[in-house]
Structure formats: structure tokens, C-alpha cells
């Protein structure tokens, strides 16, 4: 469980930097880039959660050992 929290923390750290740099790349206006950060971060996290869900379903269906 300890590992889960550490990995979640690292993921949040890295995803925040990825989204922040993407915001700045997408918009040359600093204020607009900063304003778009929360929306883009939520979209990014939502997309990642979706990928996690698909991977878990695939793992449970095709790769679990009974």
C-alpha cells in the first residue's frame, strides 16, 4: 500500500509538469495558458484513469492466472 501512495504521488507530480508544459506550448499567451491548466489537468487525469480501467479489464479478462 505504501508503494501505491508513492507511485500515485509521483504520477501526480509528473502529470502536473507534463500538463503545465503542454499548456504553455499550446498558447503563447501566459495568462490564457495558466487559466487552461485546471481543465487540461482534469482531462489528462480522466484520460489516464480511462486507460487504467481498460488495462485492468483486459488484465482481468485475458491475463489473470486462476
Amino acid at each position: 500500500m505504501n508503494n501505491l501512495w508513492i507511485h500515485t504521488g509521483l504520477f501526480v507530480l509528473v502529470s502536473s509538469v507534463i500538463v503545465a508544459i503542454s499548456c504553455m506550448f499550446a498558447d503563447s499567451d501566459d495568462r490564457a495558458a495558466l487559466r487552461s491548466f485546471p481543465r487540461r489537468w482534469l482531462s489528462f487525469m480522466g484520460g489516464c484513469l480511462l486507460v487504467v480501467a481498460v488495462m485492468l479489464v483486459l488484465e482481468h479478462t485475458f491475463a489473470s492466472i486462476h
Binding site: 509538469v17 508544459i21 504553455m24
Partner: protein, 303 residues
């Protein structure tokens, strides 16, 4: 913003050419693109600097950097993913001359790390030069008094992430980028206890994190190549996060390049669709307000 090129003082005129030809020539022979554009002095200096770096690297490493790859990864196209591929002509000659080395393990030369860093830096510098050749072919007249050029702005981001934006006058953005990327890279080094700073151990991840530029090389020569009896607990996380920081710096370089290019060409800098729509709405509202003021003045003035 249109720029008056007729009244501005200019450097000596260079010959405009096909941007793709200039770029490809530079890829194979550093400076050849600028020689094609008629800038022989610049071409000669670029050739000497970039090929000199590669040659010094080969001398220090005895041409052994591809021997870092384990036997099962030594495919025909494996060198294409190295930073040296930015200086393609030199890399092809290197492969022809040294290949994957002897079929048995050999001790590394004493300055192997410095040598492989220099060949990689040569590749990065040539990519910056390629972007410069491409821009110079499209925009041969260089006005004085204009902001820093696109290739130089991108190259400054290689020195310190965000430095290009800072020099462009976008100081908040520059500082934010430097803090985010250097901070992320530092946390990666802490997690991996410096084990990520070693090309021999993590050949391709090292290539990714070296995109961060000078900061990554300084960290490597200050804290890299640790002697370990076992790998640190979170080395995988450190290696991946360091690589992510380096790859994100490519976006930062492109941002700096795009902004300066837009300033030079007199076009609008890159904006998101939402931001552009907001600007257009503001411009439209302003135009309507101006029109209503004009019509009001016309009605008030007696015929």
C-alpha cells in the same frame, strides 16, 4: 505585425534557397546548408565547431559509444535513436569506421563519458543548425533590432530550459519552465540516486534525458556514474522521470522557436483555439464600438 524590411538596416544579403534542401544538406554535412545559401563564413565556422566536437568525442571515447549497447540490441537501425543521429554524416562515417567494435568486451577508455557526451552534443548542435538553415532559407534578410532568432532561442533552451523564453521577454514563462523541468529532473536524480546519469547503464533513457541539455550534462559529471553494489529501490521511476523531463524540453524548444519565428515573419504567435476566439471577439467588439462612435459623431454634426 508587419515589419518594414525596406527601411530596416540589414546584414549582407544571403541567397534564399529551398528550405528542405538547406536542412538536409546541413543534416549530412554541418554548414553545407548555409554554404548552399551563400553564407560561406558562417558555414565554415559551423562545420569546424560541430565536426570538431564530434572528432574530439571520438578521440576521447576511441569510437566505442555504440559498444554500450548489449549484443541483442545491436540492430542496423539502433544508432538512429541516438543523439548523434543529428549529425548524420559523422554518424554514418563513425559506423563505417568503428561499427559495434570488437566481438569481445574491452575496457572503456579513461575519458569515455566525456567522449560520448561530446559526440551527443555535436548531434544536438547540428539539429539547431538545421533549424537555422531552414529558417535562413525562408527569411534571408536579418533585420537588426529584432528579437533573438528562432534557432538561437531554441538553442538557449538547451543551455537552461526556459532561457530562450526569458531572453524573448517572456520572463514569467521562462522562470516557470526552468523551475518545473530542472526540479523534475533533480527529483529524478534523487529517486535514482544518480544511477540515471550513466549512458552505459541506460543507453536510450540517457538519450531522452540529455535533451534537457547542459543541466543534464552538469548533473552527470557532478553526480553521475555512481559505483553501485545494487540498484537503488526507485531507480526505474528516476530513469523514466528524468527522460520525461528531457523530452518535455523539446516542447519548450519548439515553443521558443515558434514564438521567435512568428515575430520575424510578422504572423500571430501560436495560440489555442479558445484564446484565438477570445481575441477575435475582443477585436470585433472594439470595431463595433469604434463604428458606433463614428456614426454618433456623424449624426451630431449638422449637415
Amino acid at each position: 505585425m508587419a515589419f518594414d524590411t525596406e527601411s530596416a538596416p540589414t546584414r549582407p544579403q544571403a541567397k534564399a534557397g529551398d528550405p528542405m534542401v538547406a536542412l538536409l544538406l546541413t543534416w549530412f554535412v554541418p554548414g553545407a546548408g548555409h554554404a548552399y545559401l551563400g553564407r560561406m563564413g558562417f558555414a565554415l565556422i559551423a562545420f569546424v565547431v560541430i565536426e570538431g566536437l564530434y572528432l574530439a568525442g571520438v578521440m576521447f571515447s576511441h569510437g566505442m559509444f555504440l559498444e554500450y549497447l548489449p549484443a541483442e540490441m545491436r540492430s542496423r537501425f539502433a544508432p538512429a535513436l541516438t543523439p548523434e543521429a543529428g549529425n548524420l554524416g559523422a554518424l554514418l562515417l563513425h559506423i563505417k569506421q568503428y561499427g559495434y567494435g570488437a566481438p569481445f568486451p574491452r575496457p572503456w577508455p579513461s575519458h569515455m563519458d566525456l567522449g560520448t557526451a561530446l559526440t551527443a552534443i555535436s548531434g544536438f548542435f547540428n539539429v539547431i543548425l538545421m533549424s537555422r538553415a531552414h529558417f535562413d532559407a525562408r527569411h534571408p534578410v536579418r533585420e537588426s533590432g529584432k528579437p533573438v532568432g528562432p534557432a538561437l532561442a531554441a538553442g538557449l533552451c538547451w543551455v537552461i530550459p526556459g532561457l530562450g523564453q526569458f531572453v524573448q521577454g517572456r520572463k514569467l514563462r521562462g522562470i516557470l519552465i526552468a523551475v518545473l523541468l530542472v526540479g523534475l529532473f533533480a527529483s529524478a536524480c534523487v529517486l535514482a540516486e544518480g544511477a540515471n546519469l550513466d549512458r552505459e547503464r541506460h543507453f536510450y533513457y540517457w538519450a531522452g534525458q540529455s535533451m534537457l541539455g547542459l543541466s543534464a550534462y552538469v548533473a552527470e559529471f557532478a553526480h553521475g556514474h555512481p559505483l553501485l553494489t545494487e540498484l537503488p529501490l526507485r531507480v526505474d521511476a528516476g530513469v523514466v522521470i528524468g527522460c520525461v523531463a528531457g523530452l518535455l524540453n523539446i516542447l519548450v524548444m519548439l515553443d521558443a522557436y515558434g514564438y521567435s519565428e512568428a515575430k520575424y515573419l510578422g504572423t500571430d504567435p501560436p495560440r489555442s483555439a479558445k484564446s484565438r476566439a477570445k481575441l477575435e471577439a475582443e477585436a470585433k467588439a472594439q470595431a463595433e464600438a469604434d463604428a458606433s462612435v463614428e456614426s454618433k459623431v456623424e449624426t451630431e454634426v449638422p449637415a
